[in-house]
């Protein structure tokens, strides 16, 4: 009878249980792996043969059929090797294991029968737990990532021989520390807002963006500090909850970016794709429908530097994820949904030559508008804050000025978020002010008459579009939250009105629209 061993396969950022069925039949010696495996799965047979021989077992001289069930779902990766080897050894009666159903196996084999680390461990262990498998056997290097899942027994080994000894109760399991300890020195935060000097005004708006989860567009001359500021934004975002951290770790695990680190990702991710990024690399996809940059930036910051240089089509593909906080990648064989709830920070020069506002610039208003139109309306519509970044005379100001530390800023953001969490605790899918819909704005952003009069006056002066009205309300709400004020008052509205620099500039341009 065929032997059955448990393993797992990835689908999106989740995994499902795979049963590895192994049978040996009399016939010409051969090995066939069926069940829609990719090339890495198919090639497992060569690794298997070498590994089993090198572990001093016999590779059966029979017709071997290995089936990965469910057989109608595509599978990829080399992590089935260990399960196949164990299944084959059980089938050929070289080892006997009691209670094999309670074990799950993940791991790639080397020709010398060593175990190699794999990606996607976290979702697979979660899947194991969900399908009632109590014991997981996997490579030692992956043990840390696997231990993020509680209430399940994790066994890490370095060689196939060790695994077999353990399964046959020859050697009891001794917990070993992973040997990649030295690689584990975590990246401590070297970035701090303290380094940003003489830009206190703009930091006030960054703070609001972070506090309310508002997307932001910064414009300014080259070298005025746009990227410097953007890179520091994750340091002031509130710490991730365990749940959020697990979600992020899962995505990185699936994308294979976790191999060496192993531990839970506790810092909010910061992704800054270059502007020639393809659509698949941005939103996800490719042959295996892997997560893209927007999913890797989930719960963190996606920084699009030189956003006007991005391919318009690629940029527009961000519209739906920005709205929904998730992205569905459909391919013929796969349909995966990845979370992509990120804060969009973008930067661009304010005109084609880049030096608008200095004496160097000779761009006409029409050219400037045309340049800015490269970012389509729907994307701009999802960006609440647009600010100029003004260059700082660093000899004058930078040396006489102390920046504010990220720690201080983070405290402010966290207190504002706390208020928002309370406000939205009963509303599904909304955690911060920027996500409010029209009905919520009506409910939470009531203004008094004075404030409305101010807003009206500003609209008359700057010809703001009707759409920006809601943006101002949302921003005012965040400014009020930062003040710990229950009502939105005039100062909050006044500050919110300073958030749309480009719109104001357009209203003053000498152009025919």
């Amino acid at each position: 009878m065929a032997s059955v061993v448990n393993s797992f396969s990835l689908a999106g950022i989740d995994a499902y249980q795979v049963k590895i069925e192994t049978d040996t039949i009399y016939g010409q010696p051969s090995i066939n792996i069926v069940g829609l495996g990719d090339t890495a799965v198919k090639e497992a047979k060569e690794r298997l043969e070498a590994a089993i021989n090198n572990a001093k077992y016999d590779f059966p001289k029979m017709k071997i059929v290995i089936n990965l069930s469910p057989s109608d779902m595509k599978k990829r990766g080399s992590h089935f090797d260990l399960g196949m080897a164990i299944g084959l050894l059980i089938r050929s009666n070289q080892i006997t294991v009691n209670d094999i159903e309670s074990f799950g196996f993940i791991g790639e084999l080397s020709l010398n029968a060593d175990l190699r680390p794999c990606s996607g461990i976290l979702p697979m262990v979660v899947a194991a737990k969900n399908s009632g498998i109590h014991n997981i056997v996997l490579p030692l290097q992956n043990i840390e990532e696997a231990s993020l899942v509680k209430d399940i027994n994790i066994f890490g080994f370095e060689t196939l021989k060790e695994v077999i000894n353990f399964l046959e109760d020859v050697d009891p399991y001794t917990a070993k520390l992973s040997n990649n300890e030295n690689e584990k020195i975590r990246r401590t935060n070297l970035l701090d807002f303290e380094d940003v000097k003489g830009q206190d005004g703009i930091i006030e708006f960054i703070l609001v963006a972070a506090a309310g989860g508002h997307n932001m567009l910064m414009t300014g001359t080259p070298g005025c500090g746009k990227s410097m500021i953007a890179k520091r934004i994750p340091t002031i975002l509130p710490s991730m909850s365990e749940e959020e951290a697990l979600e992020v770790t899962k995505i990185y695990s699936v994308a294979g970016l976790l191999k060496d680190k192993g531990a839970l990702i506790k810092e909010r991710p910061f992704r800054a794709p270059h502007h020639n990024a393809s659509m698949n690399s941005l939103i996800g996809g490719g042959n295996n429908a892997l997560p893209g940059e927007i999913s890797l930036a989930h719960n963190g910051v996606l920084f699009l530097d030189e956003i006007a240089e991005f391919n318009k089509r690629n940029l527009d593909s961000l519209r739906q994820p920005l709205e929904d906080g998730k992205v569905t990648i459909s391919r013929v064989r796969y349909t995966h949904t990845y979370p992509s709830n990120f804060m969009l920070i973008s930067a661009m020069n304010s005109c084609p030559c880049g030096y608008r506002g200095t004496n160097k610039c000779r761009c006409t208003d029409y050219e400037v508008l045309k340049y800015r139109e490269k970012i389509s309306g729907p994307i701009l519509d999802r960006i609440d804050i647009q600010k100029y970044i003004q260059p700082v005379d660093f000899i004058d100001i930078s040396n006489n000025c102390h920046g504010v530390s990220s720690k201080e800023l983070k405290e402010k953001v966290e207190s504002a978020r706390k208020i928002q969490n309370q406000r939205f605790q009963n509303i599904d899918g909304i955690n911060c002010n920027s996500q409010m819909t029209t009905s919520h704005i009506k409910e939470f952003c009531a203004l008094d008459n004075e404030a409305i009069a101010l807003l009206k006056k500003a609209f008359d002066r700057f010809n703001f579009s009707a759409r920006s009205y809601h943006k101002f309300l949302k921003l005012s709400r965040t400014f009020a939250d930062m003040d710990n004020s229950k009502d939105i008052r005039i100062p909050h509205v006044a500050k919110a009105l300073m958030c749309r620099d480009l719109d104001k500039e357009h209203s003053k341009m000498i152009t025919i629209g």
Binding site: G198, Q199, D200, G201, I202, E204, T219, S350, R356, G357, N359, R362, T364, D365, Y366, E367, L369, K370, Y388, Q390, V392, I397, N400, C401, E450, L454, K457, A458, R461, R489, I490, P491, A494, K495, L497, M498, D501, K504, E505, K508, I510, T511, I512, G513
Partner: protein, 383 residues
């Protein structure tokens, strides 16, 4: 008749000058078309080559095609004898005998040409806009070339004031260059006319610019050059204008600025110095009106909070960015941002990409220091 005008204008080697001589002799193009070789030869206007061309090239097919195309694209054609053809331009020998246009050409009115650099500075921009604002108020037709920079601003400012405008193009009237001006061009067609001597469908070529500049110079009664670098195209327009007796004005400029070389040279040679818009209408008013300080709205400082007043006095000296203001005042950042916002909505200051600058000036009674005098109003009331 139109078809014969087109036929005449399309004959190789016969330009506006020769055409006009022929027209004088034969009265209209139909007669030229019908005239036999001997008649034309006896007029002794054409040389051998031209004579050969005009007598062999009798096909009207191209002309028919062009007329059909123009009808389809709503392009109108006027000829040299038309009433709408500006009198002054008719006197210029090199002006083309046939023009294509879209929009409406109004009968005779005072037209002032405004041309200048494509790559202009903020100075040039504000000179242009202020001048055009003044001229359109006085119902003057603005004539320009729809190029980037000064030309574009002149058109736009005129349209914003609902003025009448004519744009001369260096390509066919059915195409748009530069592409970002396509909306502008449509608006010009609605509120004025785009005129070109080139067949519809003609692209841009270097020689076209010179011809366009000539036509432009014939069509305006006065010409103002706002900013021009050393080898600017606007200078050829000025030269043509000077040649055909049009008054040329040039706006003086900083001698260190690259955009000043052309205009300042014009002033040195033949152009009149341009100091205020009323000059163009023949009125000499005091130059004081140009001083922007006098156009500031008067601000009642007692309505300002002390912080607002502090900011205002700071930026009155020079444009400052928000960051500089925060650095100079060293008070709560939030309040400073709020104060700037309030003052901007109130129209006291302007927040631009260059920084914050004042729009109004403070009215205060003699001997009193504003700020000290004012009582502390509630920061949120009074606006």
């Amino acid at each position: 008749m139109e078809i014969y005008w087109l036929w005449l204008s399309q004959i190789n080697g016969i330009g506006p000058v020769t055409s006009k001589k022929l027209l004088k002799h034969f009265e209209n193009p139909y007669n030229i078309y019908m005239a036999n070789k001997d008649d034309i030869e006896s007029a002794a206007i054409l040389n051998k080559k031209q004579l050969n061309e005009i007598t062999t090239e009798k096909s009207l097919k191209t002309a028919e095609k062009i007329i059909a195309y123009c009808k389809r694209k709503d392009i109108k054609i006027i000829n040299y004898n038309d009433d709408l053809y500006k009198e002054k331009a008719k006197k210029c020998t090199k002006a083309p005998i046939l023009l294509f246009y879209k929009g409406t050409i109004l009968p005779e009115s005072l037209s002032i040409g405004i041309v200048g650099a494509r790559r202009c500075t903020d100075y040039g921009k504000s000179v242009t806009v202020d001048t055009v604002n003044y001229l359109t108020e006085n119902n003057v037709t603005i004539v320009s070339g729809m190029a980037k920079g000064i030309d574009g601003y002149a058109h736009t400012a005129c349209l914003k004031n609902n003025g009448y405008i004519i744009a001369f193009l260096e390509h066919g009237v059915d195409t748009c260059y530069p592409p970002e001006h396509s909306n502008l061009m449509n608006k010009i067609i609605e509120n004025g006319a785009v005129i070109s001597e080139f067949l519809p469908g003609t692209g841009i070529a270097k020689s076209n610019f010179v011809k366009r500049n000539y036509l432009l110079s014939t069509w305006c009664d006065k010409l103002l050059v706002v900013e021009a670098a050393e080898k600017s195209g606007a200078l050829t327009t000025a030269r043509f204008a000077n040649e055909n007796g049009t008054e040329v004005y040039a706006a003086p400029n900083n001698i260190y600025s690259k955009e000043s070389i052309g205009t300042n040279n014009l002033i040195k040679s033949y152009a009149k110095i341009y100091l205020c818009p009323s000059q163009l209408l023949g009125k000499e008013e005091s130059l004081k009106n140009n001083n922007k300080d006098n156009t500031y709205n008067d601000i009642d400082h007692s309505k300002m909070t002390p912080l607002q007043y502090k900011i205002f006095t700071l930026i009155r000296e020079k444009i400052m960015t928000t960051e500089e203001i925060i650095f100079a005042i060293r008070e709560d950042k939030g309040s400073i941002i709020e104060a700037i916002s309030m003052m901007e909505i109130e129209g006291i200051i302007e927040y631009t990409h260059r920084g914050v600058r004042p729009l109004g000036k403070i009215v205060s009674e003699k001997g009193q220091t504003p700020g000290e005098k004012c009582s502390m109003p509630d920061p949120h009331i009074g606006f």
